[in-house]
């Protein structure tokens, strides 16, 4: 039997003590009783015999044998006396009395002389004391006492047990039960012992301690929940490993990264799939420092991580390591993109700067060449050469445009954009940049290809799609086809694409005959950073950007591909009413006039050119290189001029500021801003300012004459 409880121990202890006490006391008592009984017996014996002999004296003296008989008979009422014999002094038996069936051997005989003071010895008495009696007496007394002691001690033991159980064991059991009930999930248990003694004090103290523990546990739990929530909410992967590199904790982000909860496994194996400790493992270093941070590249996945590690010091002196892995791959990519973008911006800025000057130079080249051609025969050699110069100038102009378009800032500006113009622009650029092995075809069959879009972004869409297509055919060559057509998307079609509604759409198709894509790749091509190219060959953002742009223009993009045969991308953009039809180059005629024009440009060459061109067209021209002076002139003579043509970028007063001032002086004065490049101005801005036209250099004389005429006609 297992004695594992205080109750059982107490009971057993009390039982053992009771048994010992009973045994001890009984033994002791029996000894004492025996001794006492023997002593009492001796005294009784002596007393009896003395008493009897004394009493018998007078009786014998007076021969009162009746009384003798009575006396000795009554003496036998005492159980210890078994027989009495009275003799006279001659030894003659006077009377005897004895218990029946008492053997002599069981008697302790005692003889005494009977004397009187007068007569002396007058007889004798012989008393037989019962040994059996005394033994029985001892036995019965001992037995009685034993039972009494047994009962007494049992009662005492029982009482003691009951009292102990009530006052000590039960409260302690209540204590124990409460302690057993208590765990970290249940700290609300309390000891239900309300007394003013030590146990009550202990219970009260325990309850207080439990309360404090519960409170602190709740606080700890809240803290843990908070930090756990933080850990779990963190996008960064966090793990804790022991001094032997066994994972002790992984947050959900870490689990997601590794694809499993790798508790207990080696961190270098579970996370980085290495067979030994990572070369950059900071465990040893963090023992001496509080924390450590550094960047690493995973040897397998090649992803970049920013590693923050710190030591967690345990109470037993051992250390664990907390590691936060922040995947900085995207960040680095973004950084690279940013750098690239910054580079591009720099290039754009450079290009803008160059474009401005280059356009101005081209304006001069084209302008003067045009004027020169007007003075000579176009069939002459000089004429032919000057034509070539003019063509080169035109190409240069287009090239500058392409460069400007490519490096244009991302500031979105939506306006009606003519689709085929974008296509033409891009194709022009591509023709000069793609290898000859890639054939470019276009198929434009449209009625209305005007979309409300940002022209730069449209440009970007086409550029990205064509770039991807060209990359697919880079090795073996192929055909790059660009198509534009109007389509009507019905409900059946748009039901598959919740982002669009039924209506008229411009369908742009860019297809190639390249290597094609697998279904797996096809499904992921629009994912940001997804690329099939090697690192450094592509950011994986191109199609994602295209997708984003198309979506932002309320359109959709679809892709089809067949491995080994090629791919096709379909962009659907909603068309708008074509209010502004682009003018065809072939319809433009040279226009003349005789109005007065104020021409302002900070470059002397361009001022001279402009003056000459406008004069050739019949206009009266006042040309100035200073916008400030021009303003002053205008202020002095606001009605002198019918039109002001001004450059945009000028020192002191820029073209738009000049225009603004001019408008203050004369609100109806038509103003044309003619600029090589200005990021701060656009046609819309110009319109908004009340500027009649915004033209980009270089302009041919024809283009200039048309614009001037149109503006003057509208004024």
């Amino acid at each position: 039997m297992k004695i594992d409880s205080l109750n059982k121990k107490t009971f057993l202890l009390i039982l053992i003590i009771t048994v010992f006490c009973i045994s001890g006391f009984v033994f002791m008592i029996s000894k004492i009783i025996k001794k006492q009984a023997t002593s009492t017996y001796k005294i009784d014996k002596e007393t009896s015999i003395e008493l009897l002999s004394y009493s018998l004296g007078p009786m014998l003296n007076s021969y009162d044998y009746k009384q003798v008989e009575q006396l000795i008979t009554s003496a036998l009422n005492y159980e210890k006396i078994a027989s009495v014999r009275v003799f006279d002094n001659s030894g003659t038996l006077i009377k005897s009395a004895a218990r029946q069936n008492i053997a002599t051997k069981d008697l302790d005989m005692e003889k005494r002389k009977i004397t009187t003071s007068l007569e002396g010895i007058i007889g004798s008495i012989e008393i037989g004391f019962s040994k059996k009696y005394i033994n029985e007496r001892i036995q019965t007394v001992t037995t009685a006492l034993s039972f009494g002691l047994m009962g007494g001690f049992v009662l005492l033991g029982l009482s003691l047990y009951v009292l102990m159980r009530h006052y000590i064991i039960k409260p302690l059991e209540s204590f124990t039960n409460t302690v057993k009930e208590m765990n970290f999930k249940n700290l609300s248990s309390r000891v239900k012992v309300y007394r003013k003694d030590e146990i009550g004090t202990l219970a009260a103290g325990f309850n207080q301690m439990a309360k404090n523990l519960e409170t602190s546990h709740m606080v700890l739990q809240e803290s843990e929940n908070k930090y756990r929530s933080m850990m779990e909410a963190m996008n960064d992967a966090v793990y804790i490993c022991s001094s032997d590199y066994k994972i002790e904790y992984m947050n959900p982000a870490m689990i997601k990264k590794t694809g499993q909860d790798a508790l207990g496994t080696s961190c270098f194996k579970a996370i980085f799939d290495l067979d030994k400790k990572c070369s950059w493992c900071p465990y040893d270093e963090i023992q001496h420092r509080k924390s450590l941070a550094f960047d690493v590249v995973s040897p397998h996945s090649k992803r970049s991580y920013h590693v923050s590690s710190a030591a967690i010091i345990h109470r037993d002196g051992t250390n664990s390591m907390l590691v936060v892995l922040r995947d900085t791959t995207e960040l680095k990519n973004l950084e690279a993109q940013l750098i690239q973008a910054q580079k591009m911006e720099s290039i754009g800025t450079l290009a803008a700067g160059i474009a401005h000057d280059f356009n101005n130079i081209l304006f001069a080249i084209i302008g003067y060449t045009e004027m020169a051609l007007q003075n000579i025969s176009v069939d002459s050699k000089l004429g032919k050469n000057l034509n070539k110069v003019l063509q080169a100038g035109e190409r240069a102009k287009d090239l500058v445009k392409q460069i400007l378009a490519f490096s244009r800032k991302s500031e979105e500006e939506r306006k009606p954009v003519t689709g085929h113009l974008i296509v033409n622009e891009v194709l022009k650029f591509l023709r000069s940049s793609l290898p000859a092995t890639i054939q470019i075809r276009q198929q434009i069959e449209i009625g209305n290809d005007t979309v409300w879009a940002d022209s730069t972004q449209m440009h970007q869409i086409l550029m990205n799609l064509c770039t991807n297509a060209s990359h697919a055919m880079m090795e073996k060559g192929g055909i790059l086809q660009i198509s534009l057509e109007n389509v009507e998307l019905d409900l059946k079609f748009t039901a598959l694409y919740p982002d669009i509604t039924p209506g008229s759409y411009l369908k742009l198709t860019v297809s190639d005959t390249g290597q094609g894509m697998s279904p797996y790749v096809l499904n992921r091509i629009f994912e940001p950073y997804f690329t099939t190219k090697e690192k450094g060959s592509g950011t994986g953002l191109g199609l994602a950007v295209v997708h984003g742009i198309v979506k932002s223009h309320n359109g959709i993009i679809k892709a089809e591909s067949q491995q080994g045969k090629g791919s096709a991308f379909y962009v659907y953009l909603p068309v708008i009413d074509n209010k502004e039809k682009p003018k065809k180059e072939s319809e433009k005629l040279e226009c003349t006039g005789n109005e007065s024009i104020l021409f302002v440009d900070d470059e002397d060459t361009l001022v001279d050119l402009g003056k000459q061109l406008l004069k050739r067209l019949g206009y009266a021209v006042v040309a100035m290189t200073s916008s400030v002076e021009a303003l002053e002139l205008f202020r002095r003579k606001p009605d002198q001029f019918d039109l002001v043509i001004t450059d945009m970028t000028m020192p002191g007063l820029t073209g738009d500021m000049l225009a603004k001032e001019l408008k203050k002086i004369r609100a109806d004065i038509p103003i044309i801003i003619c600029t090589g490049y200005s990021s701060g101005m656009s046609e819309y801005k110009a319109n908004a300012m009340g500027i009649s036209a915004f033209i980009m250099k270089p302009l041919t004389m024809k283009d200039l004459s048309v614009v001037v005429r149109n503006v003057l006609d509208k004024a």
């Binding site: 009162d64 044998y65 000795i72 007394v141 037995t143 009685a144 006492l145 039972f147 009494g148 049992v154």
Partner: protein, 350 residues
């Protein structure tokens, strides 16, 4: 085991222990007491003794004799005249058990001798007795005692001094006497005071003084002590001794100078005895020094044996005016008459 059951069992055990404890306490066990067998001195014979002395005294004397001789004494005890009557009747019927007789009436012995019912036996102890106290060969005075008056000295300051003082009005209704019909000593006192003081005395005493009659000496003494009577008109000296000296009561004797009726208590062997040997042995014992001493010590009566000293504290016979019947034969013959007379006088009391 269920805790409650266990505790109940423990309580039961405790109760059982206490019950057993009580049961075993010595004395609580009602063991049947063994029978007590009493044995006495082995007997070699027996003698029947008719006597008027108190039973307790007779027993002791018998015991002493038995222890000495081994002869068992069967005692037939009664008042004097009852014993006499019984004996006479038995003798008449020739069926008497008596071997030895001692009663306080000399007349009976005279009568028995005259009728030839006394065994003649020459005891060696006759010689120790004066002539007036024996009829050698037939009877001798086993004991003698005087009759006096007695009073309670704690209540009576001036007791009567003479027999005639009893006739004082003061004592009327306050005198106690014994029954003459049974007590030989009462007859003896009646006879001797009648001889001395005349019948008138008795007539007055019995008729006028309205005495109370008691049938036992102890009753008379008790009435005296309790104040039912003031004077015991008939009280033996040995009874005074017993109550005054032995029992230390306030009873005191009055020994009138005119005379103390002296009653003899003779002893004789009945001729019809069936146990002559035992009877003679007993007769000798009674008259022996030991027997006399024993009698004296037990009964406080006077031993008339010359060699036996009287008890200390009892009035000496030499200092008393003893009254004896002048004629023992007459004493015997007048017995019935005088008893009737007594009764008659007593009947006359107002």
């Amino acid at each position: 085991m269920n805790k409650s059951i266990f505790i109940a069992l423990l309580m039961l055990f405790w109760g059982l222990c206490f019950a057993l404890s009580y049961f075993f306490i010595p004395g609580n066990i009602n063991k049947p007491k063994p029978k007590i067998i009493v044995n006495s001195t082995p007997t070699s014979g027996s003698v029947t003794w008719y006597t008027s002395i108190p039973q307790r005294h007779a027993d002791r004397i018998a015991n002493a004799f038995k222890i000495k001789t081994g002869i068992d004494v069967k005692i037939i005890r009664g008042s004097t005249f009852l014993i006499k009557e019984r004996l006479m009747s038995e003798i008449k019927n020739n069926d008497t058990w008596a071997d030895v007789i001692t009663i306080a009436d000399i007349g009976t012995f005279i009568e028995l001798k005259n009728q030839g019912h006394l065994m003649e036996y020459g005891s060696q102890y006759y010689k120790n007795f004066p002539k007036k106290y024996k009829d050698k060969g037939y009877w001798a005075a086993f004991a003698g005692f005087g009759m006096c008056m007695a009073y309670d000295e704690s209540r009576i300051d001036t007791p009567p001094q003479h027999w005639t003082d009893l006739l004082n009005e003061r004592w009327r209704g306050r005198i106690g006497l014994e029954d003459i019909n049974t007590a030989g000593s009462q007859y003896g006192q009646y006879y001797m005071l009648r001889e001395k003081l005349g019948v008138k005395f008795w007539e007055k005493l019995l008729s006028i003084q309205k005495p109370k009659i008691y049938y036992r000496t102890e009753a008379l003494a008790d009435a005296l002590l309790k104040g039912k009577i003031d004077i015991a008109g008939q009280f033996s000296i040995h009874t005074v001794y017993d109550y005054k000296v032995k029992r230390k009561t306030s009873i005191k004797g009055i020994y009138p100078k005119e005379g103390i009726p002296f009653i003899l208590n003779p002893v004789a062997i009945i001729k019809q005895t069936a146990h002559l040997k035992e009877a003679t042995a007993f007769f000798d014992f009674l008259l022996s020094g030991k027997g006399q001493q024993l009698m004296q010590n037990l009964t406080y009566k006077y031993s008339l044996q010359e060699c036996t000293a009287p008890l200390a504290g009892i009035p000496s016979l030499n200092n008393l005016n003893l009254l004896h019947p002048e004629n023992k034969t007459k004493y015997a013959e007048k017995q019935s008459e005088y008893i009737r007379e007594f009764n008659s006088l007593f009947q006359k009391r107002e």
